[in-house]
Point group: C2
């Protein structure tokens, strides 16, 4: 890369940019959601470069490595820190996770993760294999706990209270995790839907590593229900995924196989349940 | 992978799945957008496995390889066909692109593409490099052609007429390309936003390879304006990208550097223009 004066990365989630609006004369300014690259390293080795909204990068790194099956929990990391020094060009866009002494690191999964989706034809292309591949290393969730349909509806309603960047920009997704008591575990926004989930899962892992007992119940998501969201929820032991919008067939298949309750079109006190509806109590009744 | 009876892949864009609706007693059925893996090969070598909505896989494969910079146009391919035979397990989920005699294949870009985002710290993490990296090998678009703001609004309005799968499922994105005469070049739906664009670009490349003169004007997109969409548009020589929802800072930066006009929040006759508004005529006037 050419030696050029580097622009310091923004630590803000939204910045003002010039815009020309059809409805207004001349250029004005508009808040736009920030998207910048983050290089995630494990023990100094590059695992991935992802585009994300800055902030809570330590949670994102931990959640990402867990979601990829490289770490098995927060206890596998001893320290997570941005590389370099404040003021360095690009400071804040490289983060390193130091493995804990005795922590588990799956180096084979790390190599597989670095290869991305390219794993020859063993990657689900034969129709049946896709779900098995996506759930490799993830145990199906046991039955229960019983969760009320009303609490799923409430989780989605309250998600809106945790979307300040979306309110300002319209450009971010959000994920929020609620426990079986209806208390918020974590809520995060990001331009990347998966990043928002990784940040929430990272927060769950950190809480557990610090000794807290957290029983996750409902992961509420803006947007659609993709298979990756269900996959990440299953790995984190979250029994219910609730999405504002539609699921895909693969998300439904992954949810069925993983024992995850998949609720979609969760809006205005209604929802459609595409997998494991038996976990929900009071689904027939009004959830408003 | 264990030897198991393979489920034949669906060739449908949407399938009926059981669903439990809070608003209805008992289980009913619901149309859900199909998402299945596709392995893209070039000369028999695996390039990527992506999740997509089945249909128009040849356009997706061509558009993907072009978007990654591996092929420079439709003339670089001699044939594109699903591997195996109809009736084979998984038939339709592996597609091979045969390079044309004398066609250009950038094998270095293929290797880079296979590595995914993992390209050490040369991948834009130092703040300034990101846009340059994302536009490597893409020449900035020249000024012009002049395009009316009204035609951008119309392109978006007419996008809705090309979303039958979305109308049935709520689960797919859509992209449509219009030429400078306001004629439709191609419109496609897919669970993956990038796939929809790749299919549209693949159609453009095929038309050009067949000798048609197409002057692309407006790429209309459902959803948000991500940097990948702008990147793909720039590479395909599409001067205007119009999105229903918000852009990100990286999308704006890529559009500015690539000479692409980026319109977002294109709704109800209004729009915000975040880059190269000078290409639009009549922006101040009502576009309804």
């Amino acid at each position: 890369m050419a030696q050029q004066p580097a622009k310091p990365p923004s630590r803000r989630k939204a910045v003002r940019l010039p815009v020309v609006k059809s409805a207004a004369a001349g250029a004005v300014e508009d808040l736009v959601a920030v998207e910048e690259p983050l290089e995630i390293r494990l023990a100094g080795e590059t695992v991935a470069v992802i585009m994300r909204t800055p902030g809570d990068d330590h949670l994102l790194a931990l959640g990402y490595l867990f979601g990829e099956g490289i770490l098995s929990g927060g206890q596998d990391a001893s320290a997570i820190a941005h590389c370099g020094r404040l003021g360095d060009p690009g400071y804040g866009n490289v983060i390193d996770v130091a493995p804990a002494a005795g922590g588990q690191v799956d180096w084979e999964r790390l190599e597989a993760s670095r290869r991305g989706g390219v794993t020859s034809s063993a990657c689900g292309v034969c129709g049946r294999g896709a779900v098995e591949d996506l759930l490799a290393g993830i145990a199906p969730l046991p039955a229960g706990p019983a969760i009320t349909a009303a609490s799923v509806g409430r989780a989605m309603e309250r998600l809106g209270q945790h979307q300040p960047t979306f309110d300002a920009t319209g450009g971010t997704h959000a994920a929020a995790l609620w426990d079986t008591e209806g208390a918020l575990v974590a809520a995060h926004e990001d331009v990347g839907r998966h990043n928002a989930v990784d940040k929430v899962v990272g927060a769950l892992l950190l809480a557990r590593a610090a000794g807290a007992t957290v029983t996750p119940a409902v992961l509420a998501m803006s947007g659609r229900g993709g298979f990756e969201i269900v996959q990440k929820a299953a790995r984190a032991g979250v029994p219910v995924v609730a999405c504002v919008s539609a699921p895909t067939t693969l998300a439904v298949e992954v949810a069925q196989a993983a024992g995850v309750t998949l609720c979609a079109f969760v809006r205005r006190g209604r929802m459609n349940v595409y997998a494991h509806a038996e976990r929900l109590v009071g689904l027939g009744a009004s959830t408003t």
